[in-house]
Symmetry: C2
Subunit: 164 residues, 2 copies
């Protein structure tokens, strides 16, 4: 494990701390703004179609590894651990482009999703349910499944139901 980790410069990632607003918004230096938990939000889309695949978080180490390796790494809050997308499923994400937003507190990852889907439930995208907006808001809001066909069998890919 130590040997494997030593391969990554990203074990001690250093990003430029955010400066004045004008530099953050109009500058040409990447200075990601991590939140109080040391995380930054990542929006992952299919690089060809722009389809939203998933939303996840990175800490500095995950971001550095993603830049180094060209594969998407995230930080899984529920397990407090780095997570290489596809490490179990094999459905890795090849990063085509990373963009940052105006205040540098969110990232866009344009990826090539290998395997058939990004979602651990077996769907292409994690966003397979739509809110029924026609009903009154003083009761529960119903969900409708859309684009929800499974493109792989999660039990076969993951063995048991587990978060990926």
């Amino acid at each position: 494990l130590i040997a494997a980790r030593a391969r990554f410069v990203s074990d001690r990632p250093v990003f430029i701390p955010p400066g004045p607003t004008a530099e953050v918004e109009e500058g040409q230096v990447f200075s990601p703004k991590f939140d109080a938990d040391g995380l930054i939000t990542c929006v992952v889309v299919d690089a060809t179609t722009n389809e939203l695949l998933m939303v996840a978080h990175m800490n500095a180490a995950a971001l550095a590894r993603t830049i180094e390796t060209g594969n998407a790494w995230f930080y899984r809050r529920s397990r407090a651990a780095l997570w290489r997308k596809g490490e179990v499923s094999g459905h890795v994400q090849h990063v085509i482009e990373i963009r940052v937003d105006c205040d540098q507190d969110a990232l866009l990852l344009r990826v090539e999703q290998t395997g058939k889907g990004a979602c651990h439930t077996g769907r292409r995208s994690c966003f397979y349910r739509s809110l029924n907006l026609a009903q009154p808001t003083n009761g529960p809001v119903a969900l409708t499944f859309v684009d929800a066909d499974r493109v792989f069998d999660p039990d076969k890919v993951y063995g048991k139901p587990t978060k990926q």
Copy 2:
């Protein structure tokens, strides 16, 4: 102010608390998972092109108002206040569809962006800079402006440079 606020059922929004994982992931009831600060991440895309416009956060009240009014409301962390997108610029977002992800801790808003742009800097999208991934990661990462033409003059729209 009281009269205006009283128009909104959303002043006391009630969403179903998340239940067991199987219900959260495969159920037909919307049970958004707000974080420790009471917020949920919202990815806002152009409903026609899928272009990522911005990432913002909602608290329960902002989400309820969005559902009620059909216009996007957010919660601005830097001011600890509700924020109707476009309240200053007039560039409101008409919500075409809201989707929720597998674990119900992120929302996709498919919108019609009125006015020309979503970003307070005058661009169409907040994601107008791309990371230079070719360079080594042990130094600062440079940013390249892409799709960064201003579609409106922020000083004219907002008066003075201010967060929108």
